[in-house]
C-alpha cells in the first residue's frame, strides 16, 4: 500500500468551551479526490484551517508524506505544497488578475523593481493551462465569482501546490461555471494533484470523488469508497438520522391574488444592454410559492430589490399589493405595504454582528414593543422568543451574539425578524445559501408552513432541485427578461435550464 500524502492523527481543537474537532484521524492518498462531508459546524472548516496552517495550535498531529509537520502559518503549509481555496474568496479587488496571483511573491526585475510584464505573461500562461481566457491585466473585482475562483486556483498552481483544499467551491457558481470547474478539476487530477473537496452537494461529491469522509459534530464518522456507497447513506451519516425524503406535506390551497407586478423595468446606465430588468410581469397568490430561477446576473436579486424599494435607481412599471398600487422608494415603505425581504448576502446585508440573537430578531418590529416613548424589554423579548419557538431556532437563549449561531439558524433569525412584521408577501433571496442539509429541510418546512398561513412567498435559488421542491410555480429570468413560467407539474430541470440560457437571442 502506498504511503498516504496526508495523514491526520488524533487531531482535536477547542475554541474556548466549544469542541470543534475531537480526535479525528484519517488518511488522504496521493492523487485522489477526497470529499469531506458534514453539516455546518461539523468541523470541516476547522480541519482545513489546521491543514493549511491558518490554525496553529491544536492537539494531535499531522503528517505530510509520512513526515510529522506543524505549520506555524499558511506559508509553511504552502511550502509543503498545500493550498486552500476558501469559500469566501480572498482576492484584492482593486488589483489585477496577475497581481493577485503573485501577491506576496511578486516577481522582480534585475533592479529589484516589480516586474509586471513577467507576472502578466506567467499569469496568462497559468490561466491558459486551466483553459480559461481571462486577461491577466483585468481588475479582479471586475470579474464574475466563477472567474475569481479560477484565479485562486491559478494562484495555488503558481506555488506548485500538490494538494488543493477546496471549500464549497460551487456555492456561488452558475451551472456553466460549475461545468468549467469540473473540467479544471479533471485537468488538475490528470496532473497528479490531490484534492480535498468540501461540499454539501451530494451530486457533486458523487460525480467527482474517489473517497468520502464524513464528519459530524467534530468527530470522524467514516471514510467510504464513493463507488460503494450512496447519497442516502452519506446523508444519513452526516445527520446521524434518516432524513425523511423531503415530503413537505400537501401544498396549501392557493388563495387570492396578493401581489401583481406589471411591466417592471430597471435601467442600467452605462451598460451595453441598457437595462437590468425589462418588462417583468408576475402574479403571486396567497398560500403560494413562486420560484424564480436564473443564472447569476439574470436579475433575480435586482427584481426582489425593486419590489422592496431597495434598488439604487427607481424602477418603472407597476407594483400592486392587494390591488393597491405602491411605489416603494425605501424599504420602510415596502415594509408598510406588507412586504418582507430576506437578503441574499446574510453577513453583509442581513445580520447585525454587534447585537445578540434576540435583538437581531426584534429589530424590525420594535414599534410593537413600546410603551409611550419607551421600549419595553419584556415585550421585546416575548417577540423574539415567539420566533425562536415558532421557527425552532437552536440557540442558548436570546443573549448569545448572533455570530455564535450556525448559518441555518442565523437565517431563521432573519426570517423570524420579518415574520414579526406580519407581512403579506415574503421575498426570500437564495435563503439556503451556505446552509447545511438538515437546516435546509427545516427551512423548507418553515416556508411551507408560512404558506399555509396565507403568506405569498417568492423564493430565488441557485439550486434547481430546491426550486422544484419548494415552488408551486417557477418563473425563469435570463439577462433581465422573463423567458418562461412553468407550473410545478410541467417544470423540469432541463426546461428551466433551457429557458435560463435562452438569453442570447435578445442581443
Amino acid at each position: 500500500m502506498t504511503q498516504p500524502i496526508i495523514s491526520i492523527q488524533n487531531v482535536s481543537k477547542h475554541f474556548g468551551g466549544t469542541r470543534a474537532l475531537h480526535d479525528v484521524s484519517f488518511d488522504v492518498m496521493p492523487g485522489e479526490l477526497h470529499a469531506i462531508c458534514g453539516e455546518n459546524g461539523a468541523g470541516k472548516s476547522t480541519l482545513m484551517k489546521i491543514l493549511s496552517g491558518v490554525i496553529t495550535s491544536y492537539d494531535g498531529q499531522l503528517a505530510v508524506d509520512g513526515q510529522v509537520v506543524r505549520f506555524q502559518g499558511t506559508r509553511d503549509g504552502e511550502s509543503e505544497g498545500i493550498s486552500i481555496i476558501h469559500q469566501e474568496l480572498n482576492l484584492v479587488e482593486q488589483l489585477s488578475v496577475a497581481a493577485n496571483i503573485f501577491l506576496g511573491r511578486e516577481l522582480r526585475t534585475g533592479l529589484l523593481l516589480r516586474d509586471d510584464r513577467a507576472m502578466e505573461s506567467q499569469a496568462a500562461h497559468l490561466l491558459q493551462s486551466l483553459d480559461c481566457d481571462i486577461p491577466p491585466n483585468r481588475l479582479a473585482g471586475s470579474l464574475r465569482v466563477g472567474d475569481q475562483q479560477l484565479i485562486e486556483i491559478a494562484k495555488a498552481l503558481s506555488i506548485n501546490s500538490r494538494i488543493l483544499v477546496m471549500d464549497e467551491p460551487t456555492s456561488a457558481l452558475t451551472e456553466a461555471e460549475v461545468a468549467r470547474l469540473y473540467r479544471v478539476i479533471a485537468k488538475l487530477r490528470s496532473d497528479g494533484t490531490t484534492i480535498l473537496y468540501i461540499s454539501h452537494k451530494m451530486d457533486e461529491v458523487f460525480h467527482l470523488s474517489d473517497r468520502i469522509t464524513v464528519l459530524r459534530d467534530g468527530q470522524f464518522i467514516a471514510t467510504l469508497n464513493t463507488q460503494e456507497t450512496s447519497p442516502a447513506e452519506i446523508t444519513k451519516l452526516m445527520v446521524g438520522r434518516d432524513i425523511e425524503s423531503l415530503d413537505l406535506g400537501a401544498r396549501p390551497q392557493r388563495g387570492d391574488l396578493v401581489l401583481e407586478v406589471r411591466n417592471l423595468s430597471l435601467e442600467w446606465p452605462g451598460h451595453a444592454r441598457g437595462y437590468r430588468l425589462k418588462d417583468i410581469s408576475l402574479e403571486l397568490y396567497r398560500g403560494e410559492v413562486l420560484g424564480i430561477a436564473g443564472l447569476m446576473g439574470a436579475g433575480r436579486t435586482e427584481l426582489l430589490e425593486c419590489l422592496f424599494g431597495a434598488s439604487a435607481l427607481e424602477p418603472t412599471g407597476e407594483i400592486l399589493i392587494d390591488g393597491e398600487l405602491i411605489k416603494p422608494r425605501h424599504p420602510a415603505e415596502a415594509l408598510k405595504a406588507g412586504l418582507a425581504l430576506v437578503t441574499e448576502d446574510r453577513k453583509r446585508l442581513g445580520i447585525f454582528n454587534t447585537m445578540d440573537v434576540g435583538r437581531n430578531i426584534s429589530i424590525v418590529a420594535l414599534r410593537d414593543a413600546v410603551v409611550g416613548p419607551m421600549l419595553n424589554q419584556g415585550q421585546e423579548q416575548d417577540l423574539s422568543v415567539s420566533m425562536v419557538e415558532k421557527l425552532r431556532i437552536k440557540t442558548a437563549g436570546l443573549t448569545p451574539p448572533i455570530g455564535a449561531l450556525s448559518g441555518g439558524n442565523q437565517q431563521k433569525c432573519i426570517v423570524g425578524r420579518w415574520l414579526l412584521t406580519g407581512p403579506k408577501v415574503l421575498l426570500l433571496d437564495d435563503p439556503t445559501r451556505g446552509v447545511d442539509v438538515g437546516a435546509k429541510a427545516e427551512l423548507y418546512r418553515v416556508i411551507r408552513g408560512l404558506c399555509s398561513e396565507g403568506l405569498g412567498v417568492i423564493v430565488t435559488s441557485s439550486e434547481l432541485p430546491e426550486l422544484l421542491t419548494l415552488s408551486d410555480r417557477i418563473m425563469v429570468l435570463s439577462e433581465g427578461r422573463k423567458t418562461a413560467e412553468f407550473s410545478i407539474a410541467e417544470a423540469t430541470q432541463e426546461k428551466i435550464l433551457e429557458a435560463a440560457t435562452k438569453s442570447w437571442q435578445f442581443q
Binding site: L349, F352, I363
Partner: protein
C-alpha cells in the same frame, strides 16, 4: 471568553464599565498615596469639584461624540463648534442688547434668546453635517474635517465684525451671568439632564436601538426598513448641539471667547474619552454610562498626574491621554489582551520599537520627576538614562523569551 455572554455575572465582570470603575478607584488611591501635598485628604471637596467641573465640560460633548461613534460615524468638528458657539453666543448678546453688554448687565431676555440662538446654530451645523454625509455623499471624516477647519475660521471672521475696534476676542460682559453659567452645580445639572436624556434615548427607545443597528451594519439597517438618513441627522445634530452647550459654558468659564485658540483639539479628547469608555470606532458598540466613566477616568488621571508632578503639568495632558487611550483600548479589546502569552516583541517591528519605548520612559521620568532639578544640567539627570536603559534591557529580555521556539507548539 466565549462563554462569558452566558452568565450575567460574567458579563458584568468583563464589562468596560466595571473595569473603568476599578481603574478609577486605583488611580484615586494611588494619588492619595503618592501626592506629597495630600490634596485629596486636605481639600477633598475642592479636588472633587475641580475634577467634576472638568469631567462635565468634557462629558457633555463627549456624549455627543459617543452617540455619533456608536451610530457608525465620526465628528471631528466639536472643538471648532465649541469655539464657534462661544463666539456666536457673544455676538448674539452684543447684537440683542448692545447697551447692556457695554454696561456689563445683559438683559435676561437677551441671554435666553442668545442661548436659544446658539443652540439653534449648533443644530444647523449638525444638519449641515448630515446633509454633506447623506445627500452629498461625503464620508463623515471628510465632512466634519471641512467644518473643523471652516467653522473656526468663520468664528475668527465674525469676532472683529461684532466687537468695537475689531478685536480678535470677545470678553464676557456680565460677571453675575458668568458666575451663573459656570457654576459647577448648574453645569452638573445640565450634564446630568443631558446624560439621562441620551442614556434614555440610546438604551430605552426604538430610535436608540436603530442607531446602534445602523452603526453595526448600515446596509442591513436600511434593508430592515430603518430610515438611516434621518437617524444620521439626529446623531449629528446631537453631536453639534452638545458642543454648542459646552461653547456657551466655556465662554463663561474662560471669561472670553478667543476663536483662534479656544477648544483647539478638543474633538480628539471627546473621541478618546468615548473610546476609553468602550465605544468602537467601527460603530455599533458603546454605551452612555461607559462614555461618562471614560471622561471621569481620563480627567481623574490627568488631575492625578498634576497632583503628583506639581505645577506646569498641563503640558503633559496630551501624553497622558495618548498613553491612556493605548492602554485602555489594548485591554478592552474583544477577546482581551494579555500580558502573558501574547507576543509583543517577537518580530522586526517589535525589536525596532524597544529603543523608542526606552527613550520614552527615560524622557517621561525626566519630565515628570526631573522638574525640581531644573538648576542642574540636563546630563546630570543620569537617573533618566538609567530608567531608559533598564526599560530597554527588560524589554530585550522579554523579546528574547518570546522569540524562543515553543517546546510543543502549544500555549
Amino acid at each position: 471568553m466565549s462563554s462569558d455572554y452566558a452568565s450575567p455575572l460574567g458579563r458584568l465582570w468583563s464589562s468596560v464599565e466595571f473595569k473603568l470603575i476599578l481603574s478609577w478607584l486605583l488611580v484615586v488611591l494611588a494619588t492619595m498615596a503618592l501626592d506629597t501635598n495630600h490634596t485629596y485628604w486636605n481639600a477633598s471637596a475642592d479636588s472633587a469639584q475641580l475634577i467634576l467641573r472638568q469631567t462635565v465640560l468634557l462629558g457633555i460633548f463627549a456624549l455627543g461624540a459617543a452617540v455619533i461613534i456608536i451610530s457608525g460615524g465620526i465628528d471631528l468638528s466639536s472643538g471648532s463648534v465649541i469655539a464657534m458657539s462661544a463666539t456666536v453666543f457673544g455676538s448674539l448678546m452684543i447684537v440683542l442688547d448692545p447697551e447692556g453688554f457695554k454696561a456689563g448687565h445683559v438683559s435676561t431676555m437677551a441671554v435666553i434668546l442668545s442661548i436659544t440662538g446658539t443652540l439653534l446654530v449648533g443644530a444647523m451645523v449638525g444638519t449641515l453635517h448630515a446633509w454633506l454625509i447623506t445627500s452629498v455623499g461625503l464620508p463623515p471624516f471628510v465632512a466634519t474635517l471641512a467644518t473643523l477647519v471652516g467653522l473656526r475660521s468663520f468664528s475668527r471672521g465674525l469676532t472683529p465684525a461684532v466687537t468695537i475696534g475689531g478685536k480678535s476676542q470677545i470678553d464676557f460682559p456680565d460677571a453675575g451671568l458668568r458666575d451663573a453659567l459656570k457654576d459647577v452645580t448648574s453645569i452638573s445639572i445640565v450634564f446630568l439632564f443631558f446624560a439621562l436624556l441620551l442614556w434614555f434615548l440610546m438604551s430605552r427607545t426604538v430610535t436608540g436601538r436603530h442607531l446602534q443597528a445602523m452603526g453595526g451594519n448600515e446596509q442591513a439597517a436600511k434593508l430592515s426598513g430603518i430610515r438611516t438618513d434621518r437617524l444620521k441627522w439626529l446623531a449629528y445634530v446631537i453631536g453639534a448641539v452638545s458642543a454648542s452647550i459646552v461653547g456657551i459654558i466655556s465662554f463663561a468659564d474662560n471669561g472670553s471667547a478667543k476663536p483662534d485658540i479656544m477648544a483647539r483639539g478638543y474633538e480628539l479628547n471627546a473621541i478618546a474619552a468615548s473610546v476609553i469608555g468602550g465605544c468602537s470606532l467601527q460603530g455599533g458598540v458603546g454605551t452612555i454610562p461607559g462614555t461618562i466613566l471614560g471622561c471621569l477616568f481620563l480627567r481623574t488621571i490627568i488631575d492625578a498626574v498634576q497632583k503628583i508632578v506639581g505645577a506646569g503639568a498641563d503640558v503633559y495632558e496630551g501624553m497622558i491621554v495618548g498613553i491612556v487611550v493605548v492602554v485602555a483600548v489594548t485591554f478592552s479589546q474583544r477577546g482581551g489582551s494579555k500580558l502573558v502569552g501574547k507576543k509583543y516583541f517577537s518580530n522586526e517591528i517589535g525589536w525596532s520599537v524597544i529603543p523608542t519605548l526606552g527613550i520614552l520612559s527615560g524622557l517621561s521620568y525626566l519630565l515628570f520627576f526631573g522638574s525640581g532639578n531644573s538648576k542642574r544640567e540636563w546630563y546630570a539627570n543620569y537617573q533618566a538614562f538609567l530608567i531608559g536603559a533598564a526599560v530597554v534591557i527588560a524589554l530585550s529580555i522579554r523579546a528574547f523569551l518570546e522569540s524562543r521556539p515553543r517546546v510543543n507548539g502549544q500555549s
